[in-house]
């Protein structure tokens, strides 16, 4: 009873970013695909049926990272497996987060660019990118623009990415001190975060950077928590009360909801625990490394 479907469709395979953005401008219906770990689930479940796709896996420009001195520029097509294996020393927070994504199969394919483009509040890369003040590089036929990570997330699965634009890279400042990433879920693998928290400590500038995942409509920072006063002149005065105060401020910055993975109350509680734990760990690590 079904008529033969017309076997006409487009699958674009650009070999350069310039060609990719031109194709995207000419074929706005083409859905970009890299690792496919989000898009193909939607396709398999018939939630979307793209008539055209634009394959990013042939773009060598997107598939490497480069050392830029104080920062690392990570091509949007670099998969999590490589971030974990190759960048743990310079970007420990992001590498730790990448290691918690899905499973080895997902980390082989899933890319940091895909995490950003999907812009799920639960995406694992977001908290460490926020904590370190990363910047998203976006290309179109108009040229290249850079969006500070704090301005990138606009809502659940909504970002500053406009039609016709491609994420080409993310530039992440190298760790200036200890970093932590903690994620709460029912097991260590294949978990969409119930909540997650990233922390970066810069002992030189005495600054903290925070990132909260899966506890608000967008990934969030906790500015009040970053402003907590730390006993830099007498590190031994750091105590559990201070860590707990930091945890309370992080929890207060979250805007969680009740959903299938957890309640808002649970998320706030877990964030307070994770944040206090993260602060204790980075403080201890900083002062083991640089004994005063």
């Amino acid at each position: 009873m079904t008529a033969a479907a017309p076997a006409r469709f487009d699958f674009h395979r650009p070999a350069a970013v310039a060609e990719a953005v031109r194709l995207l401008a000419e074929h706005p219906e083409a859905v970009p695909v890299a690792g496919g770990t989000d898009l193909m689930v939607a396709v398999n479940y018939r939630l979307t049926r793209p008539e055209a796709m634009l394959d990013l896996t042939g773009l060598d420009e997107l598939r490497d990272w480069t050392d830029e001195g104080d920062t690392v520029r990570i091509g949007s097509g670099v998969p999590y497996a490589r971030i974990t294996a190759e960048l743990a020393a310079v970007l420990p927070g992001l590498a730790a987060a990448a290691r918690t994504v899905g499973s080895p199969q997902i980390r082989s394919r899933g890319t940091i660019g895909g995490n950003l483009a999907t812009a799920s509040p639960a995406g694992d890369a977001h908290p460490p990118l926020l904590a370190t003040g990363a910047s998203v590089e976006i290309a179109s036929t108009e040229g290249v623009r850079h969006v500070p990570i704090g301005e990138f997330y606009l809502g659940p699965k909504r970002s500053a990415l406009r039609p016709g634009e491609l994420i080409t890279a993310v530039t992440v400042p190298k760790a200036a001190g200890p970093q932590q990433f903690l994620k709460v879920g029912t097991r260590n693998a294949m978990v969409i975060a119930v909540c997650s928290f990233a922390l970066a400590l810069d002992p030189e500038t005495r600054r903290l950077g925070t990132g909260i995942g899966s506890a608000g409509p967008v990934p969030l920072t906790a500015p009040d928590a970053e402003a907590v006063e730390l006993p830099w002149s007498d590190p031994g005065r750091f105590d559990d009360a201070l860590a707990d105060e930091f945890g309370r401020r992080v929890a207060a910055a979250a805007r969680p909801i009740d959903d299938v993975r957890g309640t808002a109350d649970y998320r706030r509680h877990a964030l307070a625990v994770c944040a206090a734990r993260a602060l204790r760990r980075v403080w201890t690590a900083a002062h083991e490394r640089n004994p005063r």
Partner: protein, 154 residues
């Protein structure tokens, strides 16, 4: 649209009719290569695991059209004999549905790490669900396979 690739050492061509067709669907439904199993279609269960240019991936999440000119190894071509034998020997197979995916993941692990610890094994196999064995016998099988491979002249 015609896609040519290498599957288990053979050059194959598949005619697909939509851009989102998965590699798993092409392998099973167009090429008759049913070793890779279809269960969740969302990358959760690992029963469709294949090696794509040597990396373990869920073939349900790869678009076939992305595989032009690439090398695919399924359970048929990816798994050294001692790995298969160890699964049988150790009782690591019950209903068997997860087995092809697990074998591919184990082959990948042992290719990188000839003597993995229990923790290494658990992390490497975290993307392969088995609802029968409770995993203990699978972990035994990986150790047995590692010993078998180490004893085998390469």
């Amino acid at each position: 649209m015609k896609v040519t690739m290498r599957v288990d050492g053979a050059d194959v061509a598949a005619e697909i009719d939509r851009p989102g067709e998965s590699l798993l669907a092409t392998l099973r439904d167009r090429l008759g290569r049913t070793g890779s199993k279809n269960a969740c279609e969302q990358g959760e269960c690992g029963s469709c695991t294949v090696l794509l240019d040597g990396a373990p991936v869920c073939s349900c999440l790869v678009a076939t059209a992305q595989c032009e000119g690439r090398d695919v190894k399924t359970v048929v071509g990816a798994v050294p004999r001692p790995v298969r034998d160890a699964f049988v020997q150790c009782g690591a197979v019950q209903c068997g549905f997860c087995t092809p995916g697990l074998l591919v993941s184990v082959a990948d692990l042992l290719g990188r790490n000839g003597d993995p610890s229990d923790l290494d094994i658990r992390e490497a196999l975290a993307g392969n669900l088995c609802r029968c064995t409770g995993y203990e016998k699978i972990i035994d099988a990986v150790h047995t396979a590692a010993a078998g491979l180490a004893g085998e002249p390469r």
